[in-house]
């Protein structure tokens, strides 16, 4: 059974679809990266997963149960759209209150604070915390229930590079323990490092759902050769559907193993091959292509 499964999930505000017939699956034990530009519908989707927002149509199953079923969030921890706590009490008191709602004890509070390295500052008032400390407390709240599924919306927001690395290590450690993690992030390199699979969302629609390797996988052999027109003719004879020319670079959408054969064919045809390389696109390029964005805040 998948840990998260949505089917035709849709949320409309008036006539505007925020999320449009979303079919998303997060497999048990994986780290799933949820990518998309601002306003793509990621947070609305995460809110629907937790039962905070009701879908207009479609369904959500968390571990086989609807999020509105009593007790269905028992094994789910979440940090949605930034940390939110009671400002007039300490971080520890905040977690103790949440622990009462979650049916957990003080030991769970101390453990969660230690996991996010906030134990030393836990007795200070929340409204005196820095942005990074607030984010850590949000993560601690998400970890209170020792969850099977962790939903994290931009978990490294506000953290310094060391803090971001800690979160990456924490996610990796949780994965080893079998925790399923669904995280949205605007840092593509981070997603590339942490996630097994990625869902790319744009304008409320899931544009792609695949492993990072699969998404990046459509590599190409790039060739610089002279004369260019003869090289292109040879290439098109070899790969009729997969040749494109970008300036003086010929790009062939073939498997990596075919590079030597292509090189030999070009040489046999009297083409001077100046450079031949294998190139895989960065996740960012794939992302921008899928979302139709260029240099947009993601």
């Amino acid at each position: 059974m998948n840990m998260v499964e949505t089917s035709g999930l849709t949320k409309r505000y008036g006539h505007t679809p925020a999320v449009d017939t979303l079919d998303l699956t997060v497999q048990r034990g994986e780290v799933y990266g949820f990518l998309g530009p601002n306003g793509a519908g990621k947070t609305t989707t995460l809110r629907m997963l937790l039962g905070l927002v009701r879908p207009t149509s479609g369904s959500v199953l968390l571990n086989g149960r609807s999020p509105t079923d009593p007790g269905s969030l028992k094994g789910v921890g979440a940090l949605i759209e930034g940390p939110a706590f009671y400002p007039y009490i300490s971080g520890r008191r905040n977690l103790e209150i949440l622990a009462r709602h979650a049916g957990r004890n003080r030991k769970a509070v101390s453990h969660a604070l230690e996991l996010v390295r906030l134990a030393e500052r836990a007795d200070e008032r929340y409204d005196r915390y820095s942005l990074g400390m607030k984010q850590r407390l949000g993560l601690a709240a998400a970890l209170l229930k020792d969850p099977e599924l962790l939903v994290l919306d931009e978990p490294t927001n506000g953290l310094d590079p060391a803090g971001m690395a800690e979160i990456r290590n924490l996610v990796a450690a949780l994965k080893v323990r079998g925790v399923t993690v669904l995280l949205s992030s605007h840092i593509l390199a981070e997603v590339q490092q942490m996630c097994d699979r990625v869902g790319v969302m744009s304008d409320g629609v899931l544009k792609a759902e695949a492993s990072v390797a699969e998404l990046r996988g459509a590599g190409a052999v790039e060739i610089a050769a002279h004369p260019l027109d003869r090289a292109v003719s040879v290439a098109r004879a070899l790969v009729p559907e997969g040749v494109s020319v970008d300036g003086t670079t010929i790009r062939l959408n073939v498997h990596r193993g075919e590079a030597a054969e292509i090189n030999a064919a070009l040489v046999r045809a009297g083409v001077e091959v100046h450079a031949l390389s294998w190139r895989e696109p960065e996740l960012e390029e794939v992302f921008l292509e899928l979302t139709g964005g260029v240099g947009r805040d993601v």
Partner: protein, 273 residues
């Protein structure tokens, strides 16, 4: 129970809760005991008036004095408490944090209402307790008789004061859910409690028959009637025996239930943004 304990902890640890309690108790003491006593001891008022004021401040009038403020100023403070308890969850975006812990909206809402009406009970008891101490001090200082109300009168008085303050507190809860904020519900709620119902009673009701009839079913006039039947002085703002005490208690109880159910229904149905 753990949800209720969590909600009580939020109220207990919030400085604003204690400020509201302090203001309610201080105003009650000031207008029920301090001002009448000062008027008697060294004031410029005519002697019969100041003597009447002193007699009203004695232990025998503890119930009437302690519930007199609940239709207006204690009620207004209770409304603010109700708004703060629920509206702050919107203002601080903490609904999502709490609901993500797995408790249901209904359980959370019930826990909030229980915490708020517990706070109004504590407020009512504090007003009675401090009033008793003040009345006893005045009676002792002036060598006047110390005649306490019967225990049954005290119980009914506390219940009446609690019911009225709970009605206004749950009105605050409803407004907070309806408007999903703090400032607007506090503002509109206070305009209703302090201004509109007063204007209806003093301006519109004497001129228009159907408004006078309507008053019999409005929350404010019924709250005023209930506390009047318990002995609150008719010269207190918002206190007038328009209907008899039993009906008033039923109407005030009915409004409390209506506010609680409406607020819960809206919270359960709407998205948490």
């Amino acid at each position: 129970m753990s949800d209720i304990r969590a909600e009580l902890a939020k109220l207990l640890r919030r400085p604003a809760s204690w400020l509201l309690l302090g203001v309610a108790v201080t105003l009650g003491l000031l207008f029920n005991y301090v001002v009448p006593y000062l008027g008697y001891a060294g004031g410029v008022g005519a002697m019969p008036t100041s003597e009447r004021g002193l007699r009203n401040a004695l232990p025998e009038n503890l119930v009437g004095n302690s519930v007199a403020g609940s239709p207006v100023f204690v009620g207004a403070l209770a409304l603010v408490l109700g708004v703060l308890a629920v509206g702050s969850e919107y203002a601080w975006s903490t609904w999502k944090t709490v609901l993500s812990q797995g408790t249901s909206r209904v359980r959370l809402y019930v826990a909030k209402v229980v915490a708020v009406v517990t706070a109004t009970l504590v407020t009512t008891l504090c007003i009675f307790g401090t009033g008793a101490a003040a009345a006893m001090s005045i009676a002792t200082a002036e060598d006047m008789p110390v005649d306490w109300p019967a225990p049954s009168e005290l119980v009914v008085g506390v219940a009446g004061g609690w019911l009225v303050t709970s009605m206004w507190a749950t009105f605050g809860v409803l407004l907070a859910v309806l408007l999903r904020s703090v400032a607007l519900p506090v503002g509109l709620g206070l305009v209703w409690v302090l201004a509109v119902q007063n204007l209806v009673a003093t301006l519109a009701a004497p001129l228009i028959d159907w408004v006078a009839d309507l008053q019999r079913y409005l929350p404010g006039p019924n709250a005023g009637s209930l506390v009047a039947s318990l002995g609150a002085g008719a010269d207190t703002p918002g206190v007038a025996e328009i209907v008899e005490g039993g009906q008033a208690a039923l109407v005030v109880g009915g409004y409390t239930a209506l506010f609680v159910v409406l607020g819960g229904w809206m919270l359960v149905r709407r998205d948490i943004m």
